[in-house]
């Protein structure tokens, strides 16, 4: 009786209050995120000719990938973005997993470690970038004072200034800042594993090493996948750290130019370069497509293959 009354009441007042709940948030989300993203994809198919936008199909993308004015910058930026992502993926995530495993094994007493390891994450990447470029500056010479006593003085070089080392150095700065995020995610997953599983394995004579590789790691594989996807999305679009240290020209000689710095210079203009919104939109569209490939790979390959265990 009461149930049906409630149901009736709800049906009667159905549309309007739902609209009130949804409208403000969705309006902002659509106007400032969905529509701009779709409009950017559309703009990538246009070119500005004497102030008039004209539909040119895939011309912009052809120019990006093969026109001598654009292609070298485009391919180098794409390559750098992928390298930047791979360095983050291969250095940050294993170290984060190690730290998380150590933290998870010590229970509450690890709180101080957790707090300190996460601390750099709250800094702005721009601040981190400047901070490290000072610390690494040959003028100040701190790497030299640290490396000389251990006989590695030869390694103290201007890492940020050399074409071969600029990009990896920037990637390491970014890792220094963000490693706390995967540490916390792995840690949360590891402490959620019920003790029974682990104890049962120990009773059966497993070593700590076995337990980690055969029990804990398989159980947290879904989180490993999510962290990998996050690493990809975040680092493929690296901008802040490059811009802060190297400006939008991403020197030396474009050695640290990523898709985002390339995108920024193109659509916004920088120094002598005139803004070119449609070409910029084409670059954004390309990034978008590559990110989608990564996301779909995650959803259809990784998620399908990894089993999620109810714990």
């Amino acid at each position: 009786m009461a149930q049906s009354q409630v149901r009736q009441l709800r049906r009667k007042s159905f549309p309007f209050h739902i609209l009130v709940f949804l409208a403000p948030g969705l309006l902002i989300y659509f106007v400032f995120m969905c529509i701009p993203l779709l409009d950017s994809l559309r703009l990538g198919l246009f070119a500005t000719d004497g102030g008039v936008e004209q539909f040119v199909g895939l011309d912009n993308f052809v120019r990006l990938t093969s026109d001598p004015d654009w292609a070298p910058r485009f391919w180098s930026a794409l390559g750098h973005s992928l390298v930047f992502f791979l360095i983050n993926m291969l250095v940050q995530n294993p170290i984060a997993l190690l730290l998380a495993a150590l933290l998870a094994s010590m229970g509450r007493s690890g709180a101080v470690y957790r707090t300190l390891i996460f601390a750099p994450t709250v800094l702005s990447l721009v601040i981190t970038a400047f901070l490290w470029s000072l610390l690494l500056s040959p003028l100040w010479g701190l790497p030299k004072t640290i490396l000389t006593p251990i006989g590695l003085a030869a390694f103290a070089r201007p890492w940020l200034g050399l074409e071969s080392t600029a990009l990896p150095t920037l990637a390491l700065m970014s890792i220094w800042q963000f490693i706390g995020v995967p540490v916390i995610l792995y840690y949360a997953a590891l402490i959620a594993i019920p003790n029974d599983f682990v104890e049962a394995a120990y009773v059966d004579g497993a070593t700590g090493w076995d337990v980690f590789w055969r029990i804990k790691l398989p159980l947290i594989l879904p989180v490993v996948g999510i962290v990998a996807l996050m690493t990809f999305i975040f680092n493929f679009n690296a901008f802040d750290v490059v811009y802060a240290v190297k400006g939008a020209l991403a020197g030396p000689n474009f050695a640290s130019d990523t898709m985002m710095t390339f995108f920024y210079r193109t659509f916004f203009g920088y120094e002598l370069q005139q803004p070119n919104p449609t070409m910029g939109a084409a670059i954004a569209g390309t990034s978008f497509a590559i990110l989608m490939v990564g996301a779909l790979f995650y959803i259809f390959v990784w998620q399908r293959r990894t089993q999620t265990y109810e714990m």
Partner: protein
Amino acid sequence: MDRAVPITKMTASTGTRKSYARTRYINGLIKHAILIFFCLLAIVPTAIIVVNSFKTRDAIFSEPYRLPTQETFSMQGYETVQERSDFVVYYRNSAIVTLTSLFLILLFGAMISFALAEYRFAGNSLILLILLAGIIVPIRLGSVSILRIMVSLQLVNTLVALILVYTAQGLPLAVFVLTQFFRQVPRDLKDSARIDGASEYRVFWLVVPLVTPAIATVAALTIIPIWNDIWFPLILAPGEATRTVTMGAQQFLGQFANDWNAVLAALTMSAVPILILYFVFSRQLLRGLTSGALK
């Protein structure tokens, strides 16, 4: 753990028991050594910058690892920053943008999540799907059109532009976390309120306090990227009056690159207040992130 060990422990001779204890002790030491190393790696770089910001230029170069003494102490860098920039304004701008966006994300996010979790209506799952897509698509890729929209709304160089973009950017994750929590609120509770004559809006406000842990998680996830962003201030609000801390510091540091005292002071002023806030709230923040990660 203890239940697991006895079998070996009981059968083992005293000698191996001792060696077992020793291995355990050494393992523990290695664990702590690794963690201490990474903690130092996380903290020392910032500490070097902060310490040196209080020294004379000569001392910065001659004794970078020493604390300032009476002779080497200097506030010169801070004086330059004080004269040539306006960190008070930068902090105020960052605070306005971050807190307003956070408030809007939490309010609108909770409203959407409540509606999606509570009512069945056409388009419910479509709306959720479109919102979830926003978690993986970076809003920066829409910058060309966002700039155009802001120009046509005459919002360039206003804090409102930043607030709107950050709200749009933060909503997907908020909805993702909050809908899951709203779904767990017992139905009886809401229905009994309805029988007592409460409107749907009233029911919403009754339920919100029950999802406070989720709201804390969303706040923890949302606040740091907004505070630290450089992309949108650079594109939408580069003007002097609307500079955020990150933007202001970036401009100042670029301009005064050769004045080491000023650069160190500006870095300290941008980093230290945030780190202090972090250490005060770190327990809540990390708890929020940890429980959010489990969902």
